[in-house]
Symmetry: C2
Subunit: 299 residues, 2 copies
């Protein structure tokens, strides 16, 4: 990892954690169960990749971190809600995530469904109540529309539907379908994360487009790498049930194309992502480092 | 029912249905499963009480129906999402609603969770993309914030959490807790429905306040009446499993106070609601008729 990147990620993670802590209701606020469950999953040791990308994108556009914090928190709420619902017994049925019991194991299925619903809902409340838009070319409606579109039935939720339908021995996904799942389940939200950061910095439409392409390619690379790691690493190192995708006969990049081709695809996508950063010049350095950091994971 | 109210409700229901049909992705849009499931529940024969109240509130404030349609559709999406999730086996475990199989019975639990998520998400997208706010004192952010607050962990979701915790023989709700459940599960969304209608008509803050009080009292009355009907009517007439609340030993108004007191409370709340309509004069007539219609249900 680049020498200063580690402290950058660490500092920004703390900033994001602190902002999320303020945006969410306290655990003692009634009804306490749902607020405990929301905070449990939001503070379950995530890397905060998406919100950090939001802040880094704002910086790449010459903006400050502060105005990008509502967007950063909102994308992390959406990410966490999708994990809670994806982990449910009726979906991927995962008991462990990041080395901790998943929400439904800890709180029961009913509360887990509602905690996910609450995080999805509060994402929009955070945007509506705290995004500063004075002197910006973007309105709160632009932020809400982008996030709702990304989280909606044709992207984030659509990907999970296809993922659900793609499990089991009788269904073989085509490469195009697998690509759609990766695009909608992962790339769409990463792309939205940097786009909202750019919007918070009042970026030009042209720079938003570049961020969008960067996030999309990074997202695809990230997902391919995750699939590879699931095959090659142990549960202990991953903090989740390794080999799970294979066990449920889920179609994955390595299962479809083999490990070597999957690794090449991850590298190709990351190169494509980094190319998208040209318009930002030196200000795009952090985003570039994060791209490298994602590619250089031990996969 | 007031002579012209029947045709008013029928005409407005058609207008709402048509608007919802346009706001939702077509059932053939991929991934088709989730769009079919969204439309299945959205067109499962609901009375459209909330969206009709939205339109009637806009009219009471001297506004047109057209600008209130996005808000009307959005509150109905929230209402329907909450029904889908409430019906899940891990929640109220209902197989039938409005005489039809519930979403998870028809599509499976995973798809039902995701269809609910998608309806929750699209509610905000509809507001962000289609609420007209030129020349209004309200911004899209005001609409989104109000709906997100209403649907959030302290209101709609909070009520369902307490409802969930209140089931079973070992838990007896206090009257205050039961009131909180009714307020958060039903009154909050009805209140929001008329408020958004008022905002769509650029109503003064004072009129919004009156609408808010009207919706709140109507909502409480509506819930008390629903509880009464659940005790006194058959499954056939209700189109859902009657006596269900009692079977799961859920605390209800009739269970807590008896039928007679519950009926008086419903009447008291409706009177209170109607009083709130004074500032609207003759323009509040339709809202008043709807209030009467709700009170005069056969309970």
């Amino acid at each position: 990892m680049h020498s200063s990147l580690k402290s950058y990620l660490s500092a920004h993670r703390k900033t994001v954690d602190s902002a999320i802590g303020k945006f969410l209701p306290a655990a003692r606020v009634r009804p306490a169960t749902v607020h405990e469950a929301m905070r449990y999953s939001m503070f379950a040791g995530g890397k905060r990749l998406r919100p950090i990308l939001t802040l880094a994108a704002a910086e790449a556009c010459g903006g400050e971190i502060e105005p990008a914090l509502p967007s950063a928190a909102a994308v992390e709420c959406i990410h966490t809600y999708s994990l809670i619902h994806d982990d449910l017994p009726c979906m991927d049925d995962d008991d462990v995530r990041r080395g901790m019991p998943t929400s439904h194991v800890k709180f029961g299925e009913g509360v887990a469904v509602l905690a996910g619903d609450a995080l999805l809902t509060i994402a929009f409340k955070i945007l509506a109540k705290t995004v500063p838009i004075a002197k910006s070319r973007y309105t709160v409606a632009d932020f809400v529309a982008d996030l709702a579109d990304t989280a909606g039935s044709r992207k984030l939720i659509g990907g999970q539907i296809l993922d659900l339908e793609g499990e089991g021995e009788n269904v073989k996904l085509t490469p195009a379908q697998l690509r759609y799942i990766h695009e909608s389940k992962t790339a769409a939200l990463l792309s939205c994360s940097v786009r909202l950061g750019g919007m918070a910095a009042n970026a030009t439409p042209k720079k938003l487009e570049a961020l969008s392409e960067f996030g999309h390619s990074v997202g695809l690379a990230f997902q391919v790498i995750d699939d590879i790691l699931d095959v090659t690493q142990t549960s202990e190192k991953l903090g989740k049930s390794a080999g799970k995708d294979e066990a449920s006969d889920k179609s994955t990049y390595p299962a479809m194309f083999g490990l070597e081709k999957s690794r090449k695809e991850a590298a190709r996508l990351t190169t494509k992502a980094l190319k998208a950063l040209k318009p930002f010049g030196k200000k795009g350095e952090r985003l570039e480092q994060i791209g490298h950091y994602l590619l250089d994971r031990d996969y």
